[in-house]
Symmetry: C2
Subunit: 475 residues, 2 copies
């Protein structure tokens, strides 16, 4: 494992030794059997796993909103794996429960909640669902007992650029996809507060009850920040729960310089903030925080006599966390984060953020000034969206033909870089914008040179593309 | 960590060095700050964490439905922590996606699904919610778009002894607690099929649509197994989704001798099975399996262009798992289980199970024959429920006075054992039965001697109890 960790930091190593599923199936015998395999084979499997997994800690892995390798965090993760327990009671997780309290308190203070509450969830999606759950409970407390059947139709409002977990939450929690109202954004991907208000008025005129507005701080693709103060004004006016999905962008709270992007955050009701994303905490670690003390338990509590014995004589049962949760057993995601925070202090994360901004600014400048590269949007965070436009189509006039060809570029370059294993960068279309790259800068080991490298690599792969009418060849 | 692992297997070591929250808060400085702490202090924190956490791997930890310490599983967990990735796409988790497929296929075959589907979820509670989600989607496919608002009232049927996650799921998913119908059980804790049918008829006569019947294989407290064949007959008759919550009991599928407890399982629609419980896989690991191929994706899929690019040229995107899930990022829970299964084969788990049955039978015999001990119910699995009745109240005639006193016994003994750190055993009341102990036998390191030890310890603590009218003293 230590060797693997070194390899992750070696630029001569590939980011991934990519194999097709069928090939990998031949290389490794995945099948399980009745009989055991010997220890040597099992150890081989471990080695092979590290050979063929994606090196998310590599300085040229830019594919997702997580990555890097924090040694202290990793030790924390190993340690809590060894302790092998569940968060639901103080009885079996005394020290982890206290760590969770300390971290939630600290994060809450940073957001500006004087006395809030919270819980760690298995991912930002579920954190966002916690928000929906609280908002519903607050507006229609009878829903806990009676469900949604006899209640008015409800709606969740979130921007077109927001994360799809609001949709997942909407049907999973019984609202239905049609009751997620997608608010328009400006060209930079920020929610238009004016459209939000229009939609609220429209819903109310139809007898539909909006229950929650989600504002995103750090959208998944553009890294945009919705204007919290404006949105808070509207939520206040219409008495709506204001949640902020800061799964990706929450880290900027730790920077006095950048915090203005979330101006107004002390006015919100709840927030999702994923330390496993920008902050580099080992996957998975997601905090849900709310200003409303006691509501999590009121909303999600079910007496379970076998776990939460009221007559426990051992300790004060208000330390048990199970009744705040929709889970029963809950993985210890807190140790790794707490330990990292101890080792870094707020300052360590601030430094990491400022480093990432420096690299991002450098990359942005390069893209702006280099032939064939074009920014999709001016970045405000560490997500850089851009096109590469190969020479062959560079001089085409704007229009459908160029769009169709341009949309073939990123997938082909992506396939090329994956095969080479030289780096990993994601791509996607968005609104009327055809496939473009999204670079995510968060690994502290990433340097200016890496930025030059990726632009060169994209150009070199992009120039080999053979465009075809219907479909296209691999470079 | 290696030292800790040794300590976990040393019977001279306490199971827990218990401290009150206030004490622990004094011993360890949990607060986070702006500035970093030095490495030596951080290492101290690691040491302290292992000092004060509960040794769930200790052979005298019987407190929960998980425990033990499987070295191969733990290595798998460390390794996947090091690989630090998410399960949602083959792109970033190639090898783990294939492991998940292999394990789901194998588990499905064991259950008797010829060609099913499945996913690993963060816990059995969410696995059970997956079942509710599929059942709802199958009965009312419009709910995905429209929600529950214009649909008839729906009900979930599950036994009184079943796990509370059906309640959590019910309100979280919009049904409401009142729409969970609790079916009566016989004295051994098994669902009464006759009552199930009566309730279905009653609901239908009221215009309420039952959508899912949950049968439990291995109830949380008694370890009872609901009669699957009888229940399947009823579900077939009324066209209802039959889910089996085998989170705790699923392991018996691996024993030809015990499998009859789940006779009829090939007829069910879905099952939750937690390898982190009996099978001793490091926490957390929970499988959800369904017979209906494609339904998970049909029900939970949302196109997210930034993750699941349809024009990926790198590989066949049907390997991406994200659209089956209600999560976005998903922790790699599969590596540890896959590796354990490789190292043990089915046989290894069967052996573990038979060992646990041997110990359980031994304990049951002892309880049956020892003065002052009384079984609450004849065990069929490795959960042994019993009372200790101290001499002082042993000769009281049955009635309220005795019940009130007896209910004080377990909490006091529990407080005593926690303070001593000698062992950990859970207790709870159930139906009309006052507080009793629930011994969970699953650690392969546990021996007959440990059983003698715990009975002696319970007796020794139990004899010191001072009963009081209202409230009671600590021993
Ligand atoms: C803005 C935003 N919110 C929420 C999520 C979901 O987080 P998770 O993957 O932890 O469920 C993401 C993930 O990409 C995100 O970008
Ligand atoms: C029968 C049963 N089902 C489900 C669960 C929930 O499993 P988890 O804690 O993984 O959510 C439990 C947990 O004790 C259980 O006993």
């Amino acid at each position: 494992m230590v060797k693997y960790m070194k390899r992750c930091h070696d630029r001569h190593e590939k980011v991934v030794e990519f194999r097709q599923p069928e090939e990998l199936n031949k290389l490794i015998n995945f099948e399980l059997k009745d009989t055991p395999e010997d220890l040597a084979t099992v150890i081989d499997y471990c080695r092979e796993t590290l050979n063929y997994c994606v090196k998310t800690g590599h300085p040229r892995f830019f594919n997702q909103l997580y990555g890097g390798m924090d040694i202290v965090g990793l030790c924390g993760q190993w340690l809590s794996a060894t302790a092998n327990t569940s968060m639901y009671t103080y009885e079996v997780a005394p020290i982890f429960v206290l760590m969770e309290r300390a971290v939630l308190r600290h994060m809450g203070q940073l957001v500006g909640f004087s006395d809030g509450d919270g819980i760690f969830a298995p991912g930002g999606s579920l954190s966002n669902m916690y928000a929906i759950s609280l908002a519903r409970h607050k507006k229609f407390p009878t829903s806990k007992m009676e469900g949604l059947f006899s209640l008015p139709r409800m709606a969740i409002l979130t921007s077109k650029h927001s994360h799809y977990s609001f949709k997942k939450g909407a049907y999973f929690m019984g609202f239905g996809l049609n009751n997620v109202v997608m608010i328009n954004c400006d060209a930079k991907g920020r929610m238009l507060a004016s459209d939000l208000e229009n939609q609220i008025i429209h819903l109310q005129s139809q007898g539909i009850a909006p229950i929650l507005v989600n504002a995103t701080s750090g959208t998944t693709v553009f890294g945009a920040f919705d204007p919290l103060d404006e949105i808070a004004d509207i939520c206040q006016k219409y008495d709506l729960w204001l949640h902020v999905d800061a799964a990706w962008g929450g880290a900027i709270i730790l920077s006095a310089e950048k915090r203005h992007l979330m101006k107004g955050m002390h006015r919100i009701d709840s927030i999702s903030w994923n330390p496993h994303k920008f902050m580099g905490c080992p996957f998975q670690c997601s905090a849900f925080l709310t200003k409303k003390k006691g509501l999590l338990e009121e909303c999600h509590g079910i007496p379970a006599s076998y776990l939460f014995q009221k007559d426990k004589m051992t300790y004060d049962i208000s330390y048990d966390t199970g009744n705040k949760s929709i889970q029963c057993g809950r993985h210890v995601d807190i140790m790794k984060l707490w330990l990292m925070w101890k080792a870094k202090g707020d300052q360590g994360f601030t430094k990491k953020l400022h480093h990432a901004y420096e690299i991002s600014n450098y990359l942005t400048e390069k893209i702006r000034n280099r032939d064939g590269f074009e920014l999709v949007v001016e970045p405000v965070y560490v997500s850089i969206c851009f096109w590469y436009i190969p020479t062959a189509i560079r001089n085409l006039s704007d229009g459908d033909v160029k769009r169709r060809k341009l949309s073939q570029v990123a997938p082909q370059i992506k396939a090329g870089m994956t095969k080479r294993g030289s780096m990993l960068v994601g791509y996607q279309p968005m609104d009327d914008k055809v496939n473009f790259f999204r670079m995510i800068i968060l690994n502290s080991a990433t340097t200016f040179d890496d930025m030059d490298f990726i632009l060169d690599e994209i150009e070199s792969l992009g120039e080999r593309i053979e465009f075809v009418q219907n479909g296209f060849h691999n470079p």
